[in-house]
């Protein structure tokens, strides 16, 4: 009788513990739904982004922008020079008829030359900033991916800690296997290592791009 009552209490306790363990609170259900939506958006966006293509496009664009700046920048400078030379020739002809007007024309030509050259230089500074931003796109993207890997690793570490502390409880031990999280942890580590080696590969690419850009400039 006493044994039976004890058994009832024990079974009751285990059942209640299991119910407590398997019940997913509303807060977590909501978090789960949010999480699923986030991960779906993440997956979709990653596919749409196509990072490798993005990086390759960005490197190519930076080189082409540099080449366009050099070519058209020289055209603008040549035109400024031509306008100035022509103005000086006209001023010399006017000077023969009126020394005063000729001098004014010459001063005006010089003023325009200075204004336009200054304007061109400031345009080049702005364009160079755009080129630098284009070059940096891939590095920025890689930084974000690194942040994501870091976030996932940190979430994994939290989970691992939680599972290990939970494993002490006999009821919980059978529900969850530690092996699974260990395997997951190893996957995250491998992914992070692969990512690191990709990053150093990209550094080389950036170096090559910069060397190429310098050649284009020269």
């Amino acid at each position: 009788m006493r044994k039976s009552a004890l058994r009832t209490i024990l079974i009751g306790t285990i059942s209640m513990t299991l119910i407590g363990c398997t019940r997913v609170p509303a807060q977590v259900k909501k978090a789960s739904a949010d999480q699923s939506a986030m991960l779906a958006a993440f997956e979709q966006s990653i596919t749409a982004q196509d990072l490798a293509k993005g990086c390759s496009d960005s490197f190519k664009a930076a080189v082409e922008m540099e080449a366009a700046l050099k070519k058209q920048g020289e055209t603008v400078q040549a035109r400024i020079n031509k306008n100035f030379t022509d103005s000086k020739i006209r001023a010399t002809k006017i000077q023969a008829a009126s020394a005063e007007m000729g001098a004014t024309k010459e001063a005006k030509a010089m003023q325009i030359l200075i204004e336009e050259t200054t304007q061109l230089q400031s345009s080049i500074v702005a364009i160079r900033a755009d080129i630098e931003a284009e070059k940096a796109k891939c590095t920025v993207a890689m930084g974000f991916v690194r942040d994501m890997v870091h976030s996932m690793s940190a979430a994994q570490a939290e989970l691992d800690k939680f599972i290990q502390s939970d494993a002490r409880s006999p009821v919980e031990a059978f529900v969850y296997s530690l092996v699974e999280t260990k395997a997951l942890s190893a996957r995250i580590d491998r992914a992070a290592n692969q990512f690191q080696s990709k990053m150093s590969g990209l550094s080389d690419k950036i170096g090559q791009l910069e060397a190429f850009s310098s050649q284009v400039k020269e």
Partner: protein
Amino acid sequence: MNELIKAAKDLLSDLKGDYDALGESFAAETDLDKMNALDNQISQIGKDIVGLENKVLALEVAAKKSSFDPNELGSLASRMSEHRAETARVIKGHTESVEQAKYLASRVSTGAKLIGEVLRTIA
């Protein structure tokens, strides 16, 4: 963008034609007032040409820009970071529940799978 560049270049070609034609008129002119008027006109067209060449410069460089926008990844990265914070919060709030652990494990597993896919796209 390319149509804009083409339109600007067509306009440039017209302006250069006007500039050269007026330059020839100036060379043939002997009257001071007329020379003055022509010089003013030519100078103005010359300035317009330089202004337009500058616009072509900006357009040609802008046309080469890539459409790749890494900042779209930034919002994802911040959401992953929120995910990490949320994981920590949920663990703290529900340390008694093993079901939580299974739930979180499946989330982290999905995340790890996606990270793997990201890394493959970079390869």
